[in-house]
């Protein structure tokens, strides 16, 4: 089947006051499933239809809902209302880190990250070796992750997502760390992966990169889609609004 991402009227909101206590539930009249008093909307009525082949760039200011949108597409956040229908294997590089366990070895963390994305069966020795080579780690990867610098941990997080062979590739401003040489190498690898994936969705603030890699642009503002169209047109409108 052709890979596709269909979102219809998706809403996501976060509770502002998190967990309660049993005292609140029993004495304060709050039941376990009671809605908290205040919610912060992150996505509002999002409808998006993406059929392969397509490269999409997502733009918007900070806290406009870009990462949340990727999390919904990746299946990490379930829509609170509306529908999500995705066909195809997904690989996502979202924010820094993939929930590593720093007490485990570097190798074990690669396996752990693959297990968390439901792809443990794909984690072969070859796959681990490729990742270790890519991040230029000295040694064979048996050292605990906590002995690595944050820069190397970010490299690892990026590489674990990058070396999967997805049909839908999600990338969220991934270059949080690394020296100039590695960043250049990572950008080249990222472009290659985007080109080879039937669907790529790329969140970035760098216009030149978006124009180079994407044909369609989606502009998010305050959790809503403000514009959806050719990337150069959307970037132009976005630039005007923010100038």
């Amino acid at each position: 089947m052709t890979p596709s991402v269909h979102l219809k009227n998706v809403d996501i909101q976060y509770p502002l006051s998190k967990h309660g206590s049993l005292k609140q539930a029993l004495v304060g009249g709050r039941t376990w499933d009671a809605q908290p008093q205040r919610w912060k909307p992150a996505l509002r009525d999002i409808s998006l239809k993406i059929d392969a082949p397509q490269k999409i760039g997502i733009i918007g200011r900070n806290a406009s809902g870009k990462t949340t949108l990727l999390q919904v597409i990746a299946g990490i956040l379930p829509p609170q209302s509306g529908n999500r229908h995705v066909i195809g294997k997904i690989a996502a590089i979202i924010a820094a880190g993939v929930g590593f366990d720093t007490a485990l070895s570097v190798r074990e963390n690669v396996r752990f990250a693959m297990a968390m994305s439901g792809r443990l069966h794909e984690c072969t020795e070859d796959y681990i070796r490729k990742i270790l080579d890519f991040i230029e780690l000295q040694g064979d990867g048996w050292q605990p992750l906590q002995t690595l610098s944050l820069g190397f941990q970010s490299r690892l997080a990026f590489a674990v997502g990058l070396f999967q062979t997805p049909e839908i590739f999600l990338l969220d401003e991934a270059f949080s760390a690394g020296d100039a040489l590695f960043v250049r190498k990572a950008r080249a690898a990222m472009k290659e992966r985007m080109a080879s994936s039937p669907i790529s969705i790329f969140v970035s603030h760098v216009e030149s990169e978006l124009i180079e890699t994407c044909e369609r642009g989606v502009w998010l503002e305050d959790g809503r889609i403000v514009a959806d169209g050719p990337i150069d047109q959307v970037l132009k409108d976005y630039g005007k609004m923010n100038s």
């Binding site: 909101q13 976060y14 509770p15 998190k18 967990h19 309660g20 206590s21 049993l22 005292k23 539930a25 376990w32 499933d33 990746a74 299946g75 990490i76 956040l77 379930p78 609170q80 997904i90 996502a92 979202i94 880190g97 993939v98 929930g99 366990d101 007490a103 485990l104 074990e108 396996r111 752990f112 297990a115 968390m116 994305s117 439901g118 443990l120 069966h121």
Partner: protein, 254 residues
């Protein structure tokens, strides 16, 4: 489908169980042996107090107590550890696209594995005392209900803890109390008539007893006991089913 997850996820669950054990014992001198030393010390202490000092009139007391204590320890530890599985693993869960319940099931399986290791020690002991080993075939019948119960209740408390952080503390208190209301260090027959209800309506008591009947009594469980256990397991599965919708919402509360 079991506990709302695809059976293909079994490999991931086993992996999480292995990781859990690895994390717990990596770097320790005795490693997995610690999982034996703790229970063995407690068994020795209980045996000394109840068998030697108080002289509880029960044939093969150590076997009876161990057969009850090990499943008890497994269920109570597994459920308490599972209760924090989501809140302690927040960083992993918010990056994960697999069913979150796999983390809890992996946690319970890790505890189950340590139970099996402990049973490996108990087995020759029981064979020696009982003089025969035919009852070994009944062991899965005794252990399976404990495992299913621990997974089901573990999932329920893990979900509830996301919303109410008191749950693990409450469980700690409840298990501390429940231990003495469960015929582990004493026998059912010692319960006075007015206290029988406490034992009868204690779900853990039934699950512990089925093990004692097999290991100590060298019998297949009676129909009544088997039915009682089936009801306990059935209710735990219903509770798990009831709490499953929370799974979709908990990520927003972590």
């Amino acid at each position: 489908m079991l506990f709302g997850i695809d059976t293909r996820a079994a490999k991931t669950v086993l992996y999480f169980a292995r990781i859990q054990l690895q994390r717990r014992y990596t770097g320790s001198w005795l490693g997995l042996a610690w999982s034996l030393l703790g229970p063995l010390t407690q068994i020795a202490a209980f045996s000394f107090v109840f068998n030697v000092v108080l002289r509880v009139p029960l044939d093969r007391y150590v076997l009876h107590m161990t057969a009850g204590f090990l499943p008890w320890l497994f269920m109570s530890t597994a459920i308490q550890t599972a209760s924090t599985a989501y809140v302690m693993r927040r960083d992993q869960i918010i990056h994960s696209s697999i069913p979150f319940s796999l983390f809890v099931i992996g946690t319970v399986l890790a505890e189950f594995f340590t139970l099996l290791v402990a049973f490996g020690i108990l087995l020759p002991l029981a064979a020696y005392w009982n003089g025969s080993i035919w009852w070994i075939y009944a062991i899965p019948i005794a252990l399976l209900p404990c495992l299913v119960f621990a997974v089901a209740i573990g999932l329920v408390v893990a979900r509830l803890t996301v919303f109410f952080r008191d749950i693990p503390h409450l469980l700690n208190v409840a298990f501390g109390l429940l231990f003495w209301f469960t015929p582990i260090v004493y026998h059912w027959s010692f319960l006075p008539e007015e206290a029988e209800l406490v034992g009868k309506y204690n779900p853990m008591a039934l699950l512990v007893s089925i093990n004692q009947v097999v290991w100590h009594g060298m019998q297949m469980p009676s129909l009544n006991l088997a039915l009682g256990c089936a009801v306990v397991v059935g209710v735990s599965l219903l509770l798990e089913r009831w709490s499953r919708p929370l799974e979709k919402r908990l990520i927003f509360w972590l």
